[in-house]
Amino acid sequence: MNRRGFLATASGAVLAAPFLTRTTLAAEPRVRLRELYNNDMSFTEFATENEGIRVAIEGFMAPPLKADSSFYVLTNRPMAVCPFCSDAAEWPNDILAVYAQRVVNVIPFNVKIITRGTLSLGTYTDPELGFVSRVRLMDAVQERA
């Protein structure tokens, strides 16, 4: 079994789906983060059709807002922190909030990852962090791509 299969199966145990096979995982819809949004920031057909379903999204883990958290933000490109950009204090529009199953082991911001979780659409404000998101992955697990 390769590393990806091992990690997915291991996470599957926590998902109460302990007997997931690689064949099952391969059927899981997998897209890049940008395929959730249109240019006008409306949701794509893929996003609306897969709401409530487990999907795999490729992206990059932004530096976490707080340590030892199960929450992080997935970005479409590495979250370069430009000191001279006027949006330095702003998140890009095309992000995905991720609520992982466990406290996240931080992966460097410029390493591509795959996050698997249940797609949730609609504006939501995190009661603890105050973070407002339009789209989320719940019960997520992540690995390097």
């Binding site: 890049r32 240019n39 920031m41 590495p78 370069a80 001279f84 410029n110």
Partner: protein, 494 residues
């Protein structure tokens, strides 16, 4: 002495160039004949010494000579050419110069004092705007304000405007109207200091700024207050849009309202919460840089006395900071479109200057064959055709590489490890992967954001007194040429 002698000798030679060309074996080369045609144009050309009625300063933020080259190939390849033979509109301007960009206290400059130098004629301190050389960053008690070209134009009865793809309070547009000890005081400043957005409204109230188009809606409303295209971030709670409404200044917020605005009245357009979208990501409802440039010229042209317009393609710089050549070049193409649009709208009374504020650490690899995609892999030079061979050139590690790389940034091949050290190697690359608009080209030094560099940038100019540019000049010379073209030449004519 040598130069003068050489020039004289050359002039004699040029008179006989047609006859000379007919005798040479290369006379039928299309490259040779094109160069002969250009030569004839240059010999016949006369300098434009009439007073400038209008000045348009185009600044592509971070577009050094290398990035300009990348944009040229990118646009040419988009149009079906190999790319190298293409010319951007300003490539064809008759006058050019290399521009030194350092700040008073920085070898590697930032966009605030560089834009300030263009607008005041004097070098400035890193991260400050339009203050004298005694300025201390982040300390507004040290502010000794400089006089601005915009104010001189306004005092002379001319109109002033700017177009910018970042926030209207961002460094480059701010240098047209503001003075600040900290370029980041977009909507917030320490007690006793004045934030930049407030200064813009001050200058609109004073009648200095007539047209302001860009992003930055967040900078004009109180924290959490919903406005068109964004949410306010001002901790002082002020709603500057209400103040603007009392000034008979039109407020527009999308392509439709911009198109419908009354060209005879001042206007402010805030089309995004912070920065406007990269051209690649721009929704149809948001005006392009070209749309804004055309609208600005239409507004400003209603003043028969003339105008000063600054146009900034600010997101070229942001894409480069992100290590993403594709978006930098695509925004550069939009910049070129804006220049073309302006050229069609003005006449010989308008001085047009195209330049950048600073360079980046972008570099271009070799040896690539003709037509290698400038956002793709470096393809080998063919022995039997003009276009590249279709085979990637391999580095010493046996792997292909892209035409564009960066000296540092988020695309670094050195990745942070769990123990905090950095290590890595170059991965195998495919053409499909590297030509994706989201691809970050490989970089060497790991940094969270790719950096500027201190290397000279280019300047191109056309119109009245454009011939004053030449050689290698300090950035502040731009102000002096603009000022002479408008006021010096006017005085001489009277």
């Amino acid at each position: 002495m040598f130069r003068r002698t050489f020039t004289s000798t050359l002039a004699v030679a040029l008179c006989a160039s047609t006859a000379m060309a007919q005798d040479l074996p290369q006379a039928n080369s299309e490259y040779f004949t094109a160069a002969q045609e250009l030569l004839a144009e240059r010999i016949a050309a006369e300098n434009n010494t009439r007073p400038a009625k209008n000045v348009i300063l185009f600044v592509a933020d971070g577009m050094g000579v290398g990035t300009n080259y990348g944009i040229r190939l990118f646009e040419g390849q988009q149009q079906g050419m190999l790319g190298e033979e293409h010319n951007l509109p300003h490539d064809l301007f008759r006058h050019s110069a290399l521009i030194k960009t350092y700040n008073i206290n920085a070898q590697t400059p930032d966009s605030a004092p560089t834009a300030g130098a263009m607008n005041t004629g004097a070098k400035q301190v890193f991260n400050t705007i339009n203050l004298d050389e005694t300025a201390v960053f982040d300390d507004c008690s040290s502010e000794q304000p400089l006089a601005l070209f915009s104010e001189m134009m306004s005092d002379a009865g001319r109109s002033v405007g700017f177009v910018a793809s970042p926030s209207v309070a961002h460094a480059t547009p701010a240098a047209v109207y503001a003075r600040t000890a900290n370029r980041n005081w977009f909507h917030d400043a320490p007690e006793g200091c004045r934030d930049i957005a407030t200064q813009l409204v001050d200058q609109m109230e004073a009648g200095v700024i007539d047209v302001a188009l860009g992003g930055g809606a967040r900078d004009f409303a109180g924290e959490g207050v919903a406005v068109e295209k964004g949410t306010g971030r001002r901790p002082d709670g002020q709603n500057l849009l209400e103040r603007i409404a009392g000034l008979d200044v039109q407020y527009v917020f999308d392509a439709e309202t911009l198109a419908a605005s009354d060209r005879s009245q001042p206007v402010i357009g805030l089309f995004a919460n912070a920065d406007m979208a990269y051209e690649h990501d721009r929704p149809d409802t948001e005006p392009s840089l070209t749309d804004m440039t055309i609208a600005a010229i239409e507004h400003l042209s209603t003043n028969e006395e003339g105008y000063y317009l600054m146009v900034e393609a600010g997101r070229v710089d942001h894409a480069l900071h992100g290590g993403n050549a594709y978006r930098a070049f695509e925004d550069g193409v939009q910049f070129a479109e804006a220049i073309r649009a302006a050229q069609e709208m003005v006449d010989e009374d308008t001085l047009i200057i195209v330049t950048a504020d600073h360079e980046h650490v972008i570099s271009f690899q070799g040896y690539c064959g003709r037509g290698s995609s400038v956002v793709g892999l470096c393809m080998d030079i063919s022995d039997d055709q003009i276009e590249h061979s279709g085979e990637p050139v391999l580095a010493a590690d046996g792997l292909p590489y892209t035409v564009v790389t960066f000296g540092n940034g988020a695309g670094s091949v050195l990745i942070e490890q769990e123990d905090g050290t950095y290590s890595g190697s170059r991965p195998e690359l495919t053409q499909e992967e590297v030509t994706d608009p989201d691809y970050l080209q490989q970089a060497l030094i790991p940094m969270t954001s790719e950096t500027h560099s201190g290397v000279d940038v280019a300047l191109w100019a056309t119109g009245p007194w454009a011939h004053l540019f030449g050689g290698t000049m300090d950035q502040e010379t731009i102000f002096h040429v603009m000022h002479h073209a408008v006021f010096g030449a006017q005085d001489a004519a009277q």
